[in-house]
């Protein structure tokens, strides 16, 4: 009985002592950053959820009115919203299927040592760090249907009457995907390039000894070994393609006739141009959920493979 009591006392003493000696140093080091995160990120997200449940107009003096999930149900009947949603998915799909192979292709070209390789690698970082708004406007000039250099270059290869690019409702999304791809395919290339450099050499040597062709080595060795890296690149591109807005805003403003209005741009217009704060908050939450779901889906794909 006494022994038991002591043991119980010991058991009680251990956590208490541990609590007493709890090292607060890391918490104190983290605290300033966490307070900042709570202020500029945590609070806005909580406020966003609150807003999304209200009818809330920026213009006028009407007080916000609680409406439950009415903003979310209204989204289903909003053709401009559903249109922008499908357009964003189209934009994203088109971006993924072009950027990843192109990036991998560039990485393969840069895989072997040759004269000037490091120079080319350095140049490749330019499109992704250059100010997107400025480069978007440069592309507007280049894509000008009558005077642009792009039309001229197409003329050189025998296409005298290329599409009107940003002015054509069918071509505007592919054109924007191309400009976005110009910015970000080099990033995919550099990620793949780092991946290729880290691959083991033994399987490739063995394959050459066994007489595997270059294509077979690529198909059965490079591609599967590189898959984890490719999925990382795909994940990054996926997140940013779904959120595309800057270049669309400056290059087309969503036009012509809403033909390039992505969900993020529509969100901006609804909330901050038209002043429908509550409704815009609902769109923002849907977009956030979309990015989250898509990314988690890809992560699962990654752990499955």
């Amino acid at each position: 009985m006494v022994a038991l009591a002591t043991r119980r006392a010991d058991a009680a003493a251990v956590p208490r002592r541990r609590k007493w000696r709890r090292d607060w140093t890391p918490d104190l080091l983290l605290a300033p950053a966490l307070i900042a995160v709570a202020a500029v990120m945590g609070f806005p997200l909580v406020y966003l959820v609150y807003m999304s449940l209200h009818k809330w107009a920026l213009i006028g003096y009407a007080a916000p009115e609680f409406v439950g999930v009415a903003n979310f149900t209204a989204l289903l009947d909003d053709d401009r919203f559903t249109g922008s949603l499908w357009r964003t998915l189209y934009f994203t799909a088109l971006g993924l299927v072009t950027n990843l192979p192109a990036g991998l292709g560039i990485a393969l070209l840069l895989n072997r040592e040759f004269f000037g390789r490091s120079v080319l690698r350095a140049l490749l970082i330019f499109p992704m760090v250059a100010t997107p708004v400025a480069m978007g406007l440069v592309w507007v000039v280049m894509l000008d249907p009558s005077l642009g250099i792009v039309r001229y270059l197409f003329g050189l290869v025998g296409i005298a009457n290329p599409p009107l690019w940003l002015s054509d409702t069918d071509w505007v999304v592919p054109t924007l995907v191309a400009v976005d791809g110009w910015m970000w395919t080099p990033m995919v290339a550099l990620i793949c390039s780092a991946g290729l450099a880290s691959l083991p050499t033994e399987p490739f040597e063995a394959a050459i000894v066994d007489g595997a062709s270059a294509w077979q080595r690529f198909r059965y060795l490079t591609l599967p070994l590189l898959m984890p890296i490719l999925l990382v690149a795909a994940m990054l591109r996926l997140m940013d393609l779904l959120k595309v807005i800057d270049i669309v805003y400056v290059m087309t403003g969503g036009g012509p006739a809403h033909a390039s209005e992505t969900i993020n741009l529509y969100n901006y217009l609804v909330a901050l141009s038209y002043g429908k704060i509550g409704y815009g908050a609902a769109v923002a939450l849907v977009l956030f959920a979309l990015v989250l779901a898509a990314t988690l889906g890809l992560v699962r794909l990654r752990s499955a493979s």
Binding site: L29, V37, P44, G116, I125, T131, P132, I277
Partner: protein, 272 residues
């Protein structure tokens, strides 16, 4: 066989040169255009060789406001980078040495959230607090990406410092913040410089937050450059000159931190 292999290698090298130089065309066209007169700009087929003029740059800088926008961009980028590092380095140190990974997940969510999700509530809050149009709101909003970037980058750099060096300092009577300041920070100064440059670029390039949270006096360059595109008149040459002034410093800075660019982008340089 040997000749075939050598030819294939040469072909690959030439293809790489053509592809990468082709990707540089917009930069070439931007810089060329910034030196063109209106007439050269409007000639078709486009001219590659022409008598350069500095008029476009003169026009851009004659506009007093443009110098103001350069200053605004610099203030906001320097402020959000400085605060990001100041808060981020101790946090990264705690994460690297005490394995506080939960924080990482929070910051990852920031990488995924669209900028607009933070922007709508921040705009309303800033309206209430009369902060719209001030540097405070701009710098605070840019912390949304500079802080996670600083933390993610610095965790990697700090983990590369042997923990024994810090332990030695602790045994010699140094406090933990002292060890961080006197041992870890000096040893990671290259990493800190790289992180600072990446955060600066991210803030310099940001458009959406500045578009909403600035006013005519605090406008940053990406917002200001839109001014050269009117509804029916585009000032081509001035637009290209302004775009060059905005972009070329970023490219120069980026070259200094070439090795870390991709890591920086992965850890959150972009928020749409």
């Amino acid at each position: 066989m040997r000749r075939g292999a050598r030819l294939r290698r040469a072909g690959r090298a030439i293809a790489a040169w053509i592809v990468v130089l082709g990707l540089m065309l917009p930069f070439l066209w931007m810089v060329l255009g910034s030196f063109k007169t209106a007439r050269d700009f409007l000639s078709y087929p486009p001219v590659w060789v022409f008598v350069p003029t500095l008029d476009n740059y003169a026009q851009v800088f004659a506009d007093n406001a443009f110098a103001r926008y350069v200053l605004n961009s610099t203030i906001v980028a320097a402020g959000s980078t400085g605060i990001g590092l100041l808060l981020g380095i101790p946090a990264a140190y705690a994460m690297a040495r005490w394995r506080r990974t939960a924080v990482g997940i929070v910051l990852l969510a920031a990488r995924m959230a669209p900028g607009i999700a933070f922007l709508i509530p921040l705009f309303i809050a800033c309206l209430e607090l009369h902060l719209v149009g001030g540097y405070t709101s701009l710098i605070a909003s840019h912390l949304i990406f500079t802080l996670p970037l600083a933390v993610w980058m610095m965790v990697g750099f700090i983990e590369a410092v042997p923990v024994e060096l810090e332990q030695a300092a602790l045994i010699d009577g140094c406090s933990v913040p002292g060890a961080l300041l006197r041992v870890t920070v000096p040893l990671t100064r290259q990493g800190i410089a790289a992180t600072a440059i990446l955060a600066f670029i991210a803030s310099w390039n940001n458009f959406l937050f500045a578009l909403v949270l600035s006013n005519d006096n605090t406008k940053t360059l990406p917002v200001a450059v839109l001014g050269y595109i009117g509804y029916n008149s585009i000032q081509w040459g001035a637009l290209m000159a302004a775009a060059s002034v905005i972009t070329l410093p970023v490219l120069a800075l980026a070259l200094c931190v070439q090795r870390f660019i991709v890591r920086g982008l992965v850890s959150g340089a972009v928020t749409g």
